[in-house]
């Protein structure tokens, strides 16, 4: 668990982070969002003491981080950044094994852990272990970056726009992978991004920052439905907010059980988002869809009224 209590950071005259308080529960993914220069990266880097906070307190599992040696603290906290920061003169395997080696793990254990992580992140060992970072694509390099961050099995993972430099398709793939990874590993993650769609897709909790302050925090749904002010509303997409909400709600949550009525031709998968369902309706000129499972078996139906949440009973 990470707690920020009235944390402040000044750079000279300028207050970069202004008395913010935030609690990230164990196993939770909290996204810090906001426009550039709002202090979200500074906040992240104060948690592993790459930047020292001037005021307030930061606690990890109840202990103030000032009580730890900065280096030892950072070895306990995974860190992944947009530029990956992979060491260009080291192979993929050596890069991933960095923190375990700093922690003086025995060689065999480091090697086993590196292979485990490469498998976890879909990087076949025999294909990638001896490659150098310059031989990797952007997505592969970022996977190595995440593997390196996870190497010593830290409870906490800090990610600073890790997918910001990737093309949209790779970015989405990695977002899905991160979500699946998080479902298995239950790390406590603080994730900085300026991409609201990414934040909404990944976060259990959002903290919206502006000019060094947290203007609102809560679940993605809570923020979408009741933004605190116009700034949050516009950051969340203004009038497109409805579509954003549709994009994080699954068809399975809204569908009705199969009725004796004839099923429509147009169909959508149970795990698709409402946004995708709406798109199918638009494309097929249909106001009812059959909902199917992995085997393409119909498991329910979804009407437009039901999709927009207008009618509970039909």
């Amino acid at each position: 668990m990470i707690e920020l209590l009235g944390v402040t950071k000044r750079f000279g005259e300028e207050t970069a982070v202004d008395a913010i308080s935030l609690t990230v529960e164990k196993g939770e993914l909290c996204a810090l969002v906001g426009t550039s220069g709002c202090g979200k990266s500074t906040t992240l880097r104060m948690i592993n003491r790459l930047i020292e906070h001037d005021g307030g307190e930061i606690h990890i599992d109840g202990q103030p981080i000032r009580e730890f040696d900065g280096r030892l603290l950072r070895r306990r906290i995974g860190y992944a950044i947009q530029s990956t920061g992979l060491f260009p003169h080291w192979t993929v395997a050596r890069n991933i094994g960095l923190v375990p080696r700093l922690l003086k793990w025995p060689k065999a254990r480091v090697r086993a852990r590196v292979e485990e992580l490469m498998a976890l992140l879909g990087l076949p060992v025999e294909q990638f272990a001896d490659k150098y970072p310059e031989q990797l694509s952007g997505g592969q390099a970022q996977r190595v970056g995440v593997a390196r961050a996870l190497a010593a099995d830290p409870d906490i993972l800090l990610m600073d726009e890790p997918f910001g430099a990737l093309d949209p398709i790779t970015r989405e793939t990695l977002q899905v992978e991160l979500r699946e990874l998080q479902a298995r590993l239950h790390k406590t993650i603080v994730f900085v991004t300026h991409d609201m769609d990414e934040a909404l897709a990944l976060a259990d909790r959002l903290a919206v920052m502006r000019a060094g302050r947290i203007v609102q925090q809560g679940t993605p749904l809570a923020l979408l439905r009741e933004p605190a002010d116009d700034f949050v509303a516009s950051l969340l997409g203004g009038d497109e907010r409805g579509l954003k909400e549709a994009a994080i709600t699954r068809v399975g949550e809204r569908m009705l059980p199969l009725s004796p009525r004839l099923l429509p031709q147009a169909r959508v998968h149970r795990d698709a988002t409402l946004r995708q369902a709406l798109s199918v309706m638009f494309r097929e000129h249909a106001d009812r869809l059959a909902v199917v499972d992995d085997e393409a078996m119909a498991v329910g139906e979804l009407s437009l009224r039901r999709l927009v949440g207008a009618g509970r009973d039909e």
């Binding site: 950072r74 860190y79 920061g85 060491f87 003169h89 923190v99």
Partner: protein
């Protein structure tokens, strides 16, 4: 990275260039007397055509020693200074050292030598000091450029992973800056091999001696011997450095 485990023969073949130059250099240094008829053709009306005040091999050895000592000191001081001013504690001195390094490059070595003699007297020491001062500058400049040129993301990651200052320096910064630092050392050493000849004007006995003596006595054969040997020595060392500096691209 294709030649991960080169055989001894392959490794030796890569050094062919430097070895050829070295062989030529040694052959000429030891076998100059056998070339007397050729030299006679250049300088027919002089009694002596092969420089014999001191043996060429011993002049070569002296030359190497002076350049070697000066270069080792220059590397230690130059890399050390550049590393110091790029640490948090020494940051304040960075502009000073950087300026000194770029300014010093415009200073001709002859002037350094001229200034060193009144302080250190004649002989080997003034030339070592002059070479050290002159050779320092490309090393400092390149070490600074190499260290400052490291991707900030890499630095950030190294810190973020919990590496200490010394670990970052030895495992990340110096290896990444190495090609640029080596290029600076290469420039420094090669230039100093030529510059060391000036030492003969202040009484150092090295490969500059035949040149100075040849100029004073109007003996072109002497000048030629010194110049050719210095040139070959510079080529040998430079091509050896070229092998050490990995091609980047």
């Amino acid at each position: 990275m294709s030649d991960r485990a080169p055989t001894a023969a392959v490794r030796l073949a890569a050094w062919r260039g430097p070895l050829v130059w070295l062989a030529l250099l040694l052959a000429l240094a030891f076998g100059m007397p056998t070339l007397e008829p050729v030299l006679r053709g250049i300088e027919s009306d002089t009694r002596q055509v092969v420089y014999a005040q001191a043996g060429l091999p011993s002049l070569l050895a002296n030359h190497l020693l002076v350049v070697g000592v000066a270069s080792l000191l220059a590397v230690a001081l130059g890399v050390g200074a550049a590393v110091l001013v790029t640490r948090p504690a020494g940051r304040d001195f960075l502009p000073l050292v950087a300026q000194f390094a770029s300014m010093g490059q415009t200073f001709p070595p002859v002037a350094v030598l001229a200034l060193a003699v009144p302080v250190l007297g004649f002989g080997t020491w003034p030339i070592i000091v002059a070479l050290l001062l002159y050779g320092l500058l490309p090393i400092v400049r390149n070490t600074l450029a190499g260290l400052e040129g490291i991707d900030p993301g890499v630095q950030e990651a190294a810190r973020g992973m919990g590496m200490g200052g010394a670990q970052r320096l030895w495992q990340v910064e110096l290896p990444l800056a190495a090609p640029v630092i080596l290029a600076g050392i290469r420039t420094s050493v090669t230039v100093n091999i030529a510059t060391a000849a000036l030492g003969a004007t202040v009484g150092a006995s090295n490969l500059g001696a035949p040149i100075i003596s040849g100029i004073v006595n109007g003996n072109t054969a002497y000048v030629l011997q010194g110049a050719v040997l210095i040139g070959l020595l510079a080529l040998t060392v430079d091509s050896a450095f070229a092998r050490l500096t990995p091609a980047r691209g």
